[in-house]
């Protein structure tokens, strides 16, 4: 009898969690994309356009692709991962603040708001990656990925990394309002040190020694190893990337838990 009630209450809790997640994701979708169908398109078009523009600029600035035959593909495999991480880090930072009014409803907690936004961003970038790779393949500028599963694993790892950074940003913003101005300054160098437009293995060992502490670089290396049939990265350390991501997520969640009671809401 008793176990039945416990499993019932677990089921009720799971159902509540699903409802809350679904309604928040829908609400986030509306808030980000507007209510029109064109709005959904814009959410995809804007990042795709910025990636295409950067690719075009980069294609003209450099003559030879650092690896493979397609400059556009090389750049895309880097910039998509970087943008995914940065978007999560930046957008989760303000998620609690933007949804503060909705926290008046007892079933909705800060973590629900954060996870709803993370899920939406990850799904959006999955579509963006599909559109860009699909476009490059259609234009004859790329072949399909050699090991799709590695590209996907790298995507999951980058999602975890961005979520960890975003959770920590949200908690820091909750404490110091100036964090909203500091965080983007700290992440700006990532564009130059993550291997978006170079192959880390071709750099001198003294530089690699420093760059290898940047988890985004590993996410990009993993993606390229998955995408290109002959890309073998010496610097790639999947364990380091996954461990760093999980530790950041853990720190973010622990900070959320510890600040929940006093003015945390």
């Amino acid at each position: 009898m008793r176990s039945a009630t416990i499993s019932d209450s677990w089921r009720a809790l799971a159902a509540l969690q699903m409802r809350v997640a679904a309604s928040l994701i829908l609400r986030e979708t509306r808030a980000t994309f507007g209510t029109s169908h064109l709005g959904y398109l814009w959410a995809i078009i804007t990042p795709v356009a910025s990636i295409v523009l950067l690719t075009v600029i980069f294609t003209y600035a450099a003559r030879h692709p650092p690896f493979g035959t397609s400059l556009a593909l090389f750049f895309a495999t880097g910039i998509i991962m970087l943008q995914l991480v940065l978007r999560l880090a930046e957008s989760l930072m303000t998620a609690v603040e933007a949804n503060r009014a909705l926290l008046a409803y007892p079933p909705i907690k800060r973590t629900d708001v954060l996870f709803a936004r993370a899920i939406l961003i990850v799904l959006t970038y999955l579509v963006i990656a599909g559109v860009i790779y699909g476009g490059l393949i259609a234009l004859g500028m790329a072949t399909p990925p050699a090991h799709l599963e590695d590209v996907l694993f790298a995507f999951v790892a980058a999602s975890l990394l961005g979520t960890g950074m975003g959770l920590i940003n949200a908690m820091l913003l909750n404490r110091w309002d100036s964090w909203r101005r500091i965080a983007p300054i700290l992440t700006k160098p990532l564009f130059f040190i993550s291997g978006v437009f170079f192959v880390p293995d071709y750099l001198p060992p003294q530089i690699i020694e420093w760059l290898q502490w940047n988890p985004v670089l590993h996410a990009i290396e993993w993606t390229r190893e998955g995408y290109y049939p002959g890309y073998e990265s010496q610097v790639l350390d999947k364990t380091f990337l996954l461990l760093t991501s999980l530790i950041l997520v853990f720190i973010g969640l622990a900070a959320e838990r510890l600040t929940r009671r006093n003015g945390g809401l």
């Binding site: 808030a31 008046a104 003015g263």
Partner: protein, 216 residues
Amino acid sequence: MIELHAVSKAYFAKGIRKQVFDGLTFTFPANRNVALLGPNGAGKSTLLRLISGAESPDTGRIVRRASLSWPLGFSGGFNGSMTGIENIRFVARTYGADSDEVVDHVAEFSELGTSLRLPVKTYSTGMRSRLAFSMSLAINFDYYLIDEILGVGDASFRKKSNVALREKLPHSRLIMASHSMSHVRELCDCGLLLSPDGIWFFDNVEDLINAYARLH
């Protein structure tokens, strides 16, 4: 059933600590409508937020075996950039109610008409309260937690909301903070008196009101 076990809650603001509750243990009597009376700052709203689960106690435990509304206050939990209808759908989905049904219900009861299609930030305080009140009535709860929201709007809306609330009473209970003694007499049959000196339960509304009057 709602039980509070040794519940403590304090707030910090600008380095000043304010202990609102210190080891409060209380079981809300079943099948009674409970009024919360007390001067401003005595903790009525805090108590409602704690009961609802919108806030957690610092220490202690709150046991709820019933469905509870969110605390119905003036400001309400509205996202200003969402329209009235979007806010209604959001709440209906969160509580697992049929969105279309709830929207129809609220549209009819609130008399907000086409304003429901505008962002809530364009609403007046009165309109917000009407929306909040209509929304909670459209969803069925075992307990309605009411934070001073009665007496919003014009006379006809007030009358209508009182009638609607009384129609809920056969199957639902109220826990209600109010400064209006007529509402307390009309809707409640017992209550808690919250004061800076302590918290007392009164089994009878008239005794509660007399004790509250003596506080001043």
